[in-house]
Amino acid sequence: MAAGSISQVAVPRGDVSEAPRHSATVRVTHWITTVAFLALLVTGVEILISHPRFYWGETGNVNTQPLFKIPIPASRATVPTGYGYVLPDQNGWSRYLHFQSAWVAVITALIYGLYGFFAGHFRRNLVPTRADLSWRGCSTVIAQHLRLKMASAHEASSYNVLQRVTYLFVIFVLFPLVIWTGLDMSPAFASAFPSAVSVLGGQQSARTIHFFVTIALTLFLLVHVAIIFLSGFWSRVRAMIAGRPATYEERA
């Protein structure tokens, strides 16, 4: 990557605009992941529509009692939904695009992960500090969030404790889990790594967990975007594109 991380750039004291808020690697991987995630979400919904029923264990079909159903029409006439019509089948391109986007997401995540560990991004920017984790540190941030009073891009020079914990949870729990449960649905993957399936209770359990992790990731996305709006949309977006928030002159 051409541009450096925060530590490699000389920062004149007091001049915030000189320090990239996000390194080039973080910015590039952020936007590639955004595109891949949106493609995965749309195609995932399309695939779900062909069988909007969920099960627990190894197997499940229309002859099986579902764990729960999504009350939507289906794209297959064989699924009893209670609706008098069948939606058009979108599974072909949805599956092609879902897996292609999954590859993009995984390769991007590997690059980001290696960068995060070796360039100190996780340690420096995401692991909460001792002060963050103190009662006072946490309660101040939580109180600010409850009042929807977000620090602007200019006020906040680093992530607060809620951001750090959330990002770490998304990066190290939700993302690996959604990839793992996705792979579990693959019959070839299950043949090579059977215990990766059985430890979750079976392929239908993996599908159900995949669905719930997707909901968690989507909630994260919604809150993430909402907070960006609350804290100055263009300034935040600009920081993630160009590396730094708009200067005061530019904003005027």
Partner: protein, 251 residues
């Protein structure tokens, strides 16, 4: 923004290494047959990565087999394309006249009746059938391993794929030799202890348990061994890519 010369050189070297790495990877993939027949087009990179990765990691892996008490009761047959009048005639005659023709790159082209196939070594396995839609069931499938029939007719060492066709002319598929010679790929004529019921593909269905259900097509009548899928249909390997679905369904 200042970019140091060292960084510029590093970025240049990294880009060049990445580009030549991709070129080498593409060459290797082609040489080792890791590009699927529908590996062109906008979804080609993803399909090739999936097929190549699964072939490297799972060439010899065995599909999970289950205990008899895990068999789904009742299983789910799914909808079936309209069957031609010819099927009805054969069914009325208890499939005595059903033939499975084996041709293409084989030393001794042959045609087998159901009775002949039943006299061959039988493999029974309790495996999972998962549909790309998301539903699944477990059943015991029994039949003759496809590898046994291919050995019997003498498959050419140049063979790369086996094309298989259903009695409905619009329904055909193909698999590579890794799946064709796999011990669990069977020409199934039995299910859960009895003859294979018609809704589940009786009298003959090719079961490919390491791929999704749509590769296990029902009512098969013909196997063709080939080294080139271009000459079949639109040249994409099977009817699935022609309908927008991936040829490789291991995922």
């Amino acid at each position: 923004m200042s970019i140091s010369r060292r960084k510029l050189i590093t970025a240049g070297v990294a880009t060049a290494a990445g580009a030549s790495g991709l070129a080498v990877a593409a060459k290797l993939a082609k040489a080792y047959g890791l590009i699927p027949p529908d590996g062109a087009g906008i979804y080609g990179p993803g399909e090739t990565l999936t097929y190549a990765a699964q072939r490297i990691l799972t060439r010899h892996s065995l599909a999970r087999e289950f205990r008899p008490d895990q068999i789904s009761n009742p299983p789910f047959a799914n909808a079936v394309d309209p069957l031609p009048g010819k099927f009805k005639q054969l069914q009325d005659d208890r499939f005595v006249g059903w033939r499975l023709t084996v041709d293409g790159m084989v030393a001794r082209p042959a045609s087998f009746s159901i009775a002949e196939l039943k006299s061959f070594p039988r493999r029974s396995q309790i495996t999972h059938l998962a549909c790309e839609e998301g539903w699944s069931y477990i059943a015991e499938w029994s039949g003759v391993p496809l590898s046994h029939v291919l050995d019997l007719v003498g498959t050419s060492s140049q063979a790369r794929y086996v094309v298989y066709r259903a009695i409905q002319p619009e329904w055909w598929e193909s698999i590579d030799m890794a799946d064709a010679m796999h011990p669990q790929t069977v020409i199934a004529h039995g299910m859960n202890g009895g003859d294979l019921p018609v809704p589940f593909g009786g009298p003959l269905r090719l079961r490919v348990p390491r791929q999704l259900g749509y590769k296990s097509i029902k009512y098969i009548t013909r196997l063709t061994v080939t080294d080139d899928l271009k000459q079949f249909g639109a040249g994409l390997g099977s009817v699935s890519p022609e309908q927008g679905y991936a040829w490789y369904a291991g995922i």
